[in-house]
Symmetry: C2
Subunit: 130 residues, 2 copies
DNA sequence: TGAATAGATGAACGCATACTCATATATTAT
DNA sequence: ATAATATATGAGTATGCGTTCATCTATTCA
């Protein structure tokens, strides 16, 4: 650690703290279980994308089926531009896919994981999907 | 919608677009399926908390058991202050809980949903937990 | 061909937030 | 009581991001 700290280990019923010594066994044990920084960053991106209310509502809509941009904009009462920007974010992170039909772009969820994350999250906040 | 837009509906095999008219059936259908703004905000908070690499690594560590602040700081090679700030965020959103034992604070995950979100996320990025 | 429309996108503004630094609080040891 | 330790926290700074506004491309219609 870099500031203000010591080091603790469980030792039967008592907790031993010491600043200078590091307990290699615990550290090693811990370090096996840490996801590395790259994985953490990669993972954080998915959650980051799902951490915006507008994007969640888009996902909520798309969980029911394919929709075009202006349907979404209308349903959420947001500008086409705002929706389009958000859809790009969702596209870039592979959470949604789309197909072009004339000048209409139809969007849909790309992955079941997204839906699972969404419903698990809803579960967590104590709501259930309609 | 507020800018640049029309309105589309699936109509058998053809898609009808019209700007001024709103198709009440589709809108109504959609609006039943939208999570409301409050729910979206509430849900976004959980994902927001899980959208930071440092917090994810903390969660990763705590998924293996109870740890004190300086254990975490040491394992992640971050300052005690930074960890403490992040733990407060995790505490305030009920993702972790803690107990005080003397001057040592032992933290652990508060909820199985957290772990489920974490592992589902890892699944999504194609990693599996060690 | 020219007008209208669906959507995409760059710039800019405002707000949120992760970390650092300094310091405060609470507990243990001497 | 005094010193040391474990953690918490406020202020400040830098970075990231969501939305708006203006504009651009591509497609359809007249």
């Amino acid at each position: 650690m870099k500031a203000g700290g010591g080091k603790h280990t469980r030792n039967a019923e008592e907790y031993v703290c010491d600043v200078q010594c590091i307990h290699p066994d615990l550290v090693e044990e811990l370090e096996k279980n840490i996801i590395d920084g790259d994985t953490a960053s990669e993972l954080s991106q998915i959650f980051r994308v799902m951490s915006d209310p507008s994007r969640l509502r888009i996902i909520s809509l798309l969980s029911k089926g394919e929709l075009c941009v202006c349907d979404i904009a209308d349903a959420l009462n947001m500008t086409q531009s705002a929706i389009s920007h958000q859809l790009r974010v969702l596209r870039n992170t592979q959470l949604v896919k789309f197909r072009k039909e004339g000048r209409v772009a139809w969007y849909s969820l790309d992955d079941d994981h997204v839906l699972k994350l969404f419903t698990t999250g809803l579960d967590h906040v104590g709501h259930t999907e309609p």
